[in-house]
Assembly symmetry: C2
Homo-oligomer: 267 residues x 2
DNA sequence: TAAATAGTGTCTTTGAGACACTATTTC
DNA sequence: GAAATAGTGTCTCAAAGACACTATTTA
């Protein structure tokens, strides 16, 4: 016990090295056929007026919360949705990575645990917390380069290292669609195969061959299961009514559904 | 500026919510044809006498260090090797994940950022820091279940949630060998294809077909490049002298080298 | 009727894996 | 010589992708 007290005296962050821990969320959804990310506009310095990923400090000791719970709480606060009901329930949430470079927050040492969320279409967010605005933003409007930096001239500049975090989240999302059935997390509970294809096309930024995609999805065990019903025809421009499917019970796609034409990115 | 001071007053971890940040390292290597992980025996409570992943507190403000630097520093301290020279230089290091469940450390709220390291054979470690022993340990001796728990009767019990962290690291390593050339990170600068196959067999725990593996490795662009030289024959039991290769310039394997027979793990 | 789309048929090419085989080395 | 191993040849089967085609719906 004396050992333990010595240890605590040497390392308690109150006495020694104050590090703050935050969570940030890369929340992705599909709106109007395009991939969107949830951003908030910062009301206060640093980076006041710039856009940022929703996030905030983890409740460490008082009301101590687990990291995924903190991510859901911050997301709920920013979107104005209640945690524990509706669309936030069907959302997929996974840890993306932790960003702790000294100096990434000018105020103090902050370690940020980033989460990645895939959601079906959610309502327009209501700004809350430290934000004076919140909006779903098309990722193409952010001018993200592969290196995680924003091209000059982009209107919505991202605070902190959030351009890097977002770029990592997008690459993770693109990869996950290859070997998991998580594209269904962007869809309502029942969806058609053309809708599922639209998810792939929005995330990958590439058109896919409709016929081959259809056959491939049905050939992967557990990807989707039929409902026996047919979609209504709202918002369509012609053609037969597609069948409706639900997500299947597979956790991995085998064989995977690989992105076409990636030979350049390999070296 | 008043805004910023208010913000700091509300959130500075010294006044508010003390959270400590550590790094832990899952350092893997191949010894005697088997996959080993570096473990240290804890000299002090909590979990005194149990084995743990090497790690420690991140230097947050005084001598603030980036997270990967902290991982290398902790690894160097525990192995007795100098950071910045020799085998630790060729090592592959990547972030594995962050573990922050309340109660995972009985003393206080600790968020641990785990790193995963692949190293060529390293010397026997020398215990340092808070450890009274350090050893490369065959992962098969730890009785890890798929759920990240240790089977009853295992002699080396792991402290904290390190069984979970290690299980996650092993699964990451197995997956990475499928679609990246990182198996070469376990090899010396020049290696033979049978040696590379032994890496795959140790990490996957499965025998591979020598002939098909050979052809596959040579057919993936940029996986390995020939040196034009031939291995000496030390420690071998017969057969022709295999050719020597170096790691190529590919960062991804295309097509990937998939694990055989995973159909069961998909649901 | 024209255009768009869902869904299927089929052919080609690539790649994974099984099996066989030769050549080279150790014991 | 026997056993082990490096490396290659070849065959089969699965799957990806290109292309064609039919059926069904909207405008």
């Amino acid at each position: 016990m004396a050992d333990e007290r010595d240890f605590l005296a040497g390392y308690d962050p109150r006495d020694y090295d104050p590090v703050a821990v935050t969570v940030d969320v890369v929340a992705l959804t599909i709106r109007d056929g395009a991939l969107h990310v949830l951003l908030v506009r910062r009301a206060h310095p640093p980076f006041a007026g710039m856009w940022a990923l929703p996030g905030g400090f983890v409740r460490g000791v008082r009301d101590a919360e687990d990291l995924p719970d903190a991510a859901v709480r911050e997301l709920a606060e920013e979107t104005g949705l209640e945690a524990g009901d509706g669309p936030l329930e069907r959302m997929h949430l996974e840890q993306l990575g932790t960003y702790g470079r000294p100096g990434r927050d000018p105020r103090m040492r902050v370690i940020s645990v980033a989460y990645l969320a895939f959601a079906p279409e959610l309502p327009e967010p209501k700004a809350g917390g430290d934000a004076d605005d919140a909006a779903w933003t098309p990722v193409t409007a952010l001018g993200l380069g592969a290196s995680g930096e924003q091209r000059p001239g982009t209107t919505r500049k991202l605070a902190f290292d959030h351009a890097r975090v977002l770029a990592d989240g997008l690459e993770r999302a693109r990869a996950k669609l290859e070997y998991t059935p998580l594209a269904t997390a962007f869809c309502p509970p029942e969806f058609t195969i053309p809708e599922l294809r639209a998810v792939y096309e929005a995330v990958w930024g590439e058109e896919l061959h409709a016929g081959n995609f259809h056959r491939k999805v049905l050939s992967v065990p557990g990807f989707v299961e039929g409902t026996g019903t047919t979609s209504d025809r709202i918002g369509r421009r012609g053609g037969p009514r597609p069948k409706l499917y639900r997500a299947g019970d597979a956790r991995l796609l085998h064989p995977a559904l690989l992105r076409p034409g990636r030979e350049e990115e390999i070296r």
